[in-house]
């Protein structure tokens, strides 16, 4: 065959789009607008709400306390374990449900029960059943978060392209190749959504667990300062971990997105 030169027409060539400057400025402008709105709300609408400067000052005071990094570290470890555990177990169950109808039939109702269970209820029952402790926190965390991951991965597994699977059978791909080059990449959007949801929900549930049952951690600190009516400290601790969450999104998840989905043709309208 003769060399082909024609390239598919696209709406706009890859690489074109908003300028680098506007891409860099956009988040800065967004954050600045949010801070101004916060300041206005604190100044004129909600008198109990500390303004950004007060919160920042309180944050500085908390950072220099002896237990700051211990609290942060404990919460980070719990969020990490919660994310990894819920993601691994949830992905495996979701994939099995999507591909094996007996597993799907057996687990489908339980996943819905899991989705419907209120987080505080699970935490309280876990404490009643297992007492206070690290395993109690993690168990409650996994029970609450895993069904959400299952739902996302299950949806992805059900939507797998049967034609690509057929191709892999026709060309006699081994099990390993089929998993590595067909199934997992096809599931990757669902897996990425799953890990993001697991991470975000773990943080929310960990704060709740720590507030209800722990003697250490960001949630415990938030609860402590709430009881003593110190909203600036509550906000400072909330932002401490929120900043970490945003950093993980920007540095880890978005980098992964760029690498894993580099193959997607870019279409800009």
């Amino acid at each position: 065959m003769r060399p082909s030169t024609a390239v598919a027409p696209r709406l706009r060539a890859a690489g074109e789009g908003p300028s680098r400057t506007s891409l860099r400025l956009a988040p800065v402008v967004g954050i600045a607008m949010g801070l101004v709105a916060w300041w206005l709300a604190a100044r004129f609408l909600f008198r109990f709400l500390p303004d950004p400067i007060t919160t920042l000052r309180t944050f500085g005071e908390q950072v220099v306390t002896e237990t700051f990094f211990e609290n942060l570290g404990v919460t980070a470890r719990r969020v990490l374990l919660g994310t990894v555990g819920a993601f691994v177990v949830g992905s495996a169950i979701g994939l099995a449900m999507g591909r094996i109808w007996t597993v799907e039939t057996a687990l489908h109702p339980w996943v819905f029960v899991g989705l419907a269970l209120p987080g505080p209820l699970v935490i309280l029952f876990a404490i009643l059943a297992m007492g206070l402790g690290e395993m109690t926190s993690l168990t409650a965390l996994w029970v609450v978060v895993t069904p959400f991951v299952v739902t996302l991965v299950y949806g992805g597994a059900k939507a797998l392209d049967p034609e690509l699977l057929e191709m892999s059978v026709t060309y006699r791909f081994g099990r390993g190749d089929r998993l590595r080059h067909v199934l997992i990449p096809a599931l990757m959007p669902s897996l990425m959504s799953g890990v993001r949801v697991a991470f975000a929900m773990s943080w929310k549930i960990v704060v709740l667990i720590e507030a209800l049952s722990s003697t250490v951690g960001v949630g415990e600190r938030i609860h402590f300062f709430f009881i003593f009516n110190q909203p600036a400290a509550v906000l400072a601790w909330t932002f401490t971990f929120t900043i970490i969450m945003v950093a993980v999104e920007l540095l880890v998840f978005q980098t992964l997105d760029r690498r894993l989905f580099a193959w997607r043709p870019r279409a800009r309208l």
């Binding site: 059978v169 060309y171 006699r172 080059h181």
Partner: protein, 286 residues
Amino acid sequence: MGRRVGKPESGRDDTEAPSSSRIVEIEDLAFGYGEAKQPALDGLTLSIDRGEFACVLGPSGCGKSTLLGILSGLYAPQRGRVAVDGTLVYEGGRRMAREAPAMGYVFQDPRLLPWRRVRQNVELALRAAGVPQAEWDGRVSTYLDMCGIGPFAESWPGNLSGGQRQRVAIARALAIEPTLVLMDEPFSTLDEVTARFLRRELLEVWERTGQTIIFVTHSIREAVFLADHVYVMTAGPGKLLERRTIEIPRPRVYEDPHLTEIEAGMVEWVLEHWGFYDATPREEGK
């Protein structure tokens, strides 16, 4: 192409070739999909010669694609005997050989892995076919170049046009140097100009490689242009209606009046045999 000019056989079901020259032998093949009332194939018997360009022609739903599915191992027949390159693959509806001879498959759509580059798509097929890794680079370059897609080896499939993607699919099928290349209406989703171009290019590649190709189509023109023999199926359940030898010398020209003549005769003939003349015309006004 000189070696195939003017085959001695002509007309309806022609001379039997010696058994050793047969690459595919199918006897009394039957297959039905679970939910369908009528089987897709019922009593199909045909054989295809080594190095032949065979076109399987039939109307939609006559079991053409099912036939390729059985040959490639996607479906197991309920009845019949299938032998490929001397290996008995199915007999009496039972699988006889653990591993059938390697086959390349070009689907209606390219079915490339969009998350793997063009080169990786071909390499995965090579690995699955057990080709030693030392040969991969050479094979990938050879077949991508042969299909005119060499400069796009490092591209993502999503950045190629439909015609380019189908060239990659053809290169993938040929690169494993299979016993048999199966093609299931590979140009039917392309625009006519691209399809014509690719048909001509496919013939050039086939002449260079000498591989046996079974090409399924519902286009009589396409079949007549490409084939050594056209295997005409019944309207369904599918079985062989006739094997026709196309005696037009190669290289062929798509606009050749002789081709048009054969096509016209064949259209007339299949209309009769596919049951279109049996349809009762609707009464006007009703």
